[in-house]
């Protein structure tokens, strides 16, 4: 098993009597993309800010690359790149100047190649105030990578981006993963988490209620697999329960069934079609999505939830 580069043990953060983060523990191994998911106010940003050294935890221990974020800020900045959820730069600064500035403070030559990589070089005369949301996001990502960090924290990096901007950003994150950069990603976007993250933790009211790969978390839910089927002569319509497949509804010439054991239910449906001398024209099997599982957890099923998986190994 690869070594863990981020370690969070029993993290607690209180604001007065309000407990924003309540005993959160997780580990992220080198080269992994680890997602933090949760509704607004769940505590994602607070966890990240404690890791970034911006906030002082009320309890627990944190480590990034063997460095304590609270007591060793200087070393932390060498190994950690951060894109904040909301931040800004002076209105009159140019991307090239921002890169020069950040690299100068890291004692290294400016990384203009990062501006080019994120499509900003041609706009190097543009002022920050004139840049679009997507350009600003890409600039902040480029600045976060200026010191060649081993770990990058991205706090809702695609919020406010259009579809193209989001796709470009996802490609940039995949490139980072390919170069073995460890990424801790907080997001609201389930599709983003599902497509990018090796593992995710779902946080609700300051606690982790599920942790594991997106597939593992999805699989543990109560939601059933959906089978949509259309045959040439509509032999299964009007619909009825067939074996373990529970009929849900008919939409035009399609019948829709729900089941727990998808393989068995599909076999039973196909057997019924075959016995009727009919043939299949279209068959779709849809597993419950991460979003459905997330909503299931949000809607109250999380109080007695066990952690889905604690192993560090991504699938």
């Amino acid at each position: 098993m690869s070594e863990s580069i981020i370690s969070v043990r029993g993290l607690i953060k209180r604001y007065g009597s309000f407990v924003a983060v309540n005993g959160v523990s997780f580990e992220v191994k080198k080269g992994e993309i680890f997602g933090l998911l949760g509704p607004n106010g769940a505590g994602k940003t607070t966890i990240l800010e404690c890791l970034e050294g911006i906030r002082q935890p009320s309890g627990g221990t944190l480590s990034i690359g063997g460095c304590n974020p609270q007591s060793n800020g200087g070393k932390l900045r060498q190994i950690l790149g951060v894109q904040l959820q909301s931040s800004s730069l002076p209105d009159g600064i140019r991307p090239r100047e921002a890169m020069t500035l950040v690299c100068a403070w890291h004692g290294m030559p400016p990384r203009f190649d990062l501006l080019s990589r994120f499509g900003l070089d041609y706009q190097s005369k543009k002022h920050y105030r004139e840049m679009s949301t997507g350009e600003k996001r890409r600039l902040h990502l480029a600045l976060a990578l200026a010191s060649n960090p081993a770990v990058v924290i991205l706090d809702e990096p695609t919020t406010g981006l259009d579809v193209q901007g989001r796709a470009e950003f996802h490609n940039a994150i995949r490139e980072l993963k390919a170069s073995r950069v460890t990424i801790l990603l907080a997001t609201h976007d389930m599709a983003e988490a599902e497509s990018l993250c090796d593992r995710i933790a779902i946080i609700i009211r300051g606690r982790i209620v599920a942790i594991g790969t997106p597939a593992q978390i999805t699989a543990t839910g109560q939601a059933e697999t959906r089978i949509t089927l259309r045959t040439k002569r509509n032999c299964l319509l009007p619909g009825r329960d067939i074996g373990s497949a529970r009929f849900l509804k008919q939409v035009e010439n399609y019948g829709i069934w729900l089941c727990r054991d998808a393989a068995a239910a599909v076999m039973e449906l196909l057997k019924e079609v075959q016995q009727s001398g009919d043939s299949v024209e279209d068959l779709r099997v849809e597993r419950p999505s991460l979003e459905e599982r997330f909503l299931e957890l949000i809607e109250g099923g999380y109080n007695n939830e066990c952690l889905v998986q604690t192993s560090l190994d991504p699938v």
Partner: protein
């Protein structure tokens, strides 16, 4: 050091690009100076004589106390300091560089006034250049320190503007740069003595131009410097608090 110089150069350029900064650092003080030089000094000969003292006080107070706080508040409000922090740039360095950049801008304006006042308006040259420039340096130090302090304590831009005006307007009216403090009623004269500009005006007049003063000129300079040092101490305390609450 290289990082500091690069940062300072970039900050200097950012300041030049900001319309608001240009207005408060250069345009308004210089326009006011030319109006004062052309009109007011012809009415009051004493005003013409001390133009190289009064107008830098006006320009520096305006630039530092009105111009500097709002950008600092904006940096806090909009997360610029947070963005710098996570990129490894200390908040203290950001404020220091902002202050040094303001220092150079306001020094340039002051030198423009110093050089042009005798040429355009027949203003007097100081009797002691050393004392004049020492007073100017203390003026820059104390004004910038107050500007940064307002930027650090104000919760938002409106409060910053209110605090700035509460220093700037009395400075213009009560410190002796528009008319001698001896012409003011006693309560206003006493009120003027809480302003650093009053003491700077005394030291410019007494030490720089050899004119009679209400307060000992050297002592005035020390008081002004003391106010600046006190402001810096408060800034450091606020900075420590800010680092914990980013």
């Amino acid at each position: 050091m290289s990082a500091l110089f690069k940062h300072l150069w970039i900050q200097f350029k950012i300041d030049i690009r900001e319309r608001g900064t240009l207005m408060t650092y250069y345009l308004v003080p210089l326009v006011f100076y030319f109006v004062m030089g052309a009109v007011f000094s012809s009415i009051n000969p004493l005003a013409r004589q001390t133009l190289p003292a009064t107008m830098p006080i006006f320009a520096v107070t305006m630039g530092a106390v009105l111009g500097l706080p709002v950008p600092i508040v904006k940096m806090r409000e909009f997360g610029v300091l947070r963005a710098y922090h996570v990129c490894g740039i200390p908040e203290g360095a950001v404020l220091f560089i902002q202050s040094i950049s303001a220092f150079f801008h306001l020094l340039v304006v002051s030198i423009i006034i110093f050089v042009t006042a005798p040429v355009f308006f027949e203003a007097s040259y100081p009797k002691s250049f050393f004392a004049y420039f020492l007073s100017l340096l203390i003026l820059l130090f104390v004004s910038i320190a107050l500007g940064v302090l307002i930027g650090m304590v104000a919760r938002n831009q409106s409060i910053a503007l209110m605090l700035s005006q509460s220093i700037f307007l009395p400075t213009v009216l009560l410190s002796g740069i528009m008319f001698p403090t001896s012409m003011l009623p006693q309560p206003l004269r006493m009120l003027g003595r809480i302003l650093p500009a009053t003491y700077i005006m005394q030291s410019f007049s007494g030490l720089g131009f050899g004119l009679p003063t209400d307060i000992n000129a050297a002592f005035s300079l020390l008081i002004a410097a003391g106010i600046g040092v006190a402001a810096v101490i408060f800034i450091v305390i606020k900075l420590k608090a800010l680092e914990k609450s980013l």
